[in-house]
Amino acid sequence: MLAGLLGYTAREVGELEDIPLGTAKTRIRTALLRLRAALVSEEQTE
């Protein structure tokens, strides 16, 4: 869950989603890294 993109902090995301803070941070990190990887591969195919 990346409500962080709405400006929510990891703590607020954790509260909102009822998940531990660490899990919220992990999900934010995973999502942004995944997005980064997707952008890089898109650049390479262009």
Partner: protein
């Protein structure tokens, strides 16, 4: 890498995504920035992530208000004597609504890649899914958007308003379809803006009404939870 920083490169890399998204708390942010200033590799890593974070708005498909939205707003506003001001207000409201649609789409886009881990066991048919459900909040006095509420897992609630709300404290209230009401907390509004996050003790279902109640007990804005998507 940097001897001056108390954080290691590994710790900085853990926090870098939040720095890139601009959601790191002040203390952590200061420590990460201190490290990054003295560590070229971490600096490059943060720059890459910031580039990705900055690209997010461009990835969102264009979202337009529904057909006739502007015409309906203008029609309801009428042709009163404060026309020019009202036109401006309508424009702000329309832009705010469009911006929120974009924001929600961003969440959906990002979420779609991580949906499987969020799936929960099927509950009663009226229970909302794990994905956040957007609830448009409308002013009670005039039919204009005040902001949005988001409900996730049927219990997590986030409310954000950006228009038409007098400054002050508001009780965040959820009324079930059966009429029972629960006050979740207090939200503060200043310069028309305010946000609140928290949880409901009882499940929020389709047909539940989320309201912001002012000190006189009046519901200044409200929204009804639609059918879960």
């Amino acid at each position: 890498m940097s001897e001056m920083s108390v954080l290691t490169c590994a710790e900085v890399r853990e926090l870098a995504p939040e720095l890139a998204l601009g959601i790191l708390s002040g203390g952590e942010r200061a420590e990460v920035v201190l490290h990054v200033n003295g560590c070229a590799r971490c600096q490059a890593y943060v720059a890459e992530l910031t580039e990705a974070a900055d690209a997010i708005p461009q990835l969102v498909p264009e979202a337009e208000p529904p057909p006739g939205f502007e015409a309906r707003v203008m029609h309801r506003l009428g042709e009163g004597e404060r026309r020019s001001r009202r036109r401006w207000v309508a424009t702000v409201a329309a832009v705010a609504a469009a911006a929120m649609i974009v924001s929600i789409t961003v969440v959906r886009v990002i979420e779609s890649g991580d949906a499987t881990s969020n799936d929960v066991a099927a509950g009663p048919s009226t229970t909302l899914s794990a994905k956040p459900v957007a609830v448009p909040m409308e002013l009670t006095a005039v039919p204009l958007p005040a902001g949005w509420a988001y409900v996730s897992n049927g219990r997590g609630v986030a409310v954000t308003v950006s228009y038409g709300m007098p400054s002050g404290g508001y009780a965040v209230q959820v009324k079930s379809p059966d009429g029972s009401a629960e006050t979740l907390g207090t939200m503060h509004v200043e310069d028309n803006r305010g946000s609140w996050t928290g949880r409901s003790r009882r499940p929020i279902v389709t047909g539940s009404t989320i309201s912001l109640i002012d000190v006189t007990g009046a519901a200044v804005c409200h929204g009804t939870v639609p059918t879960a998507l």
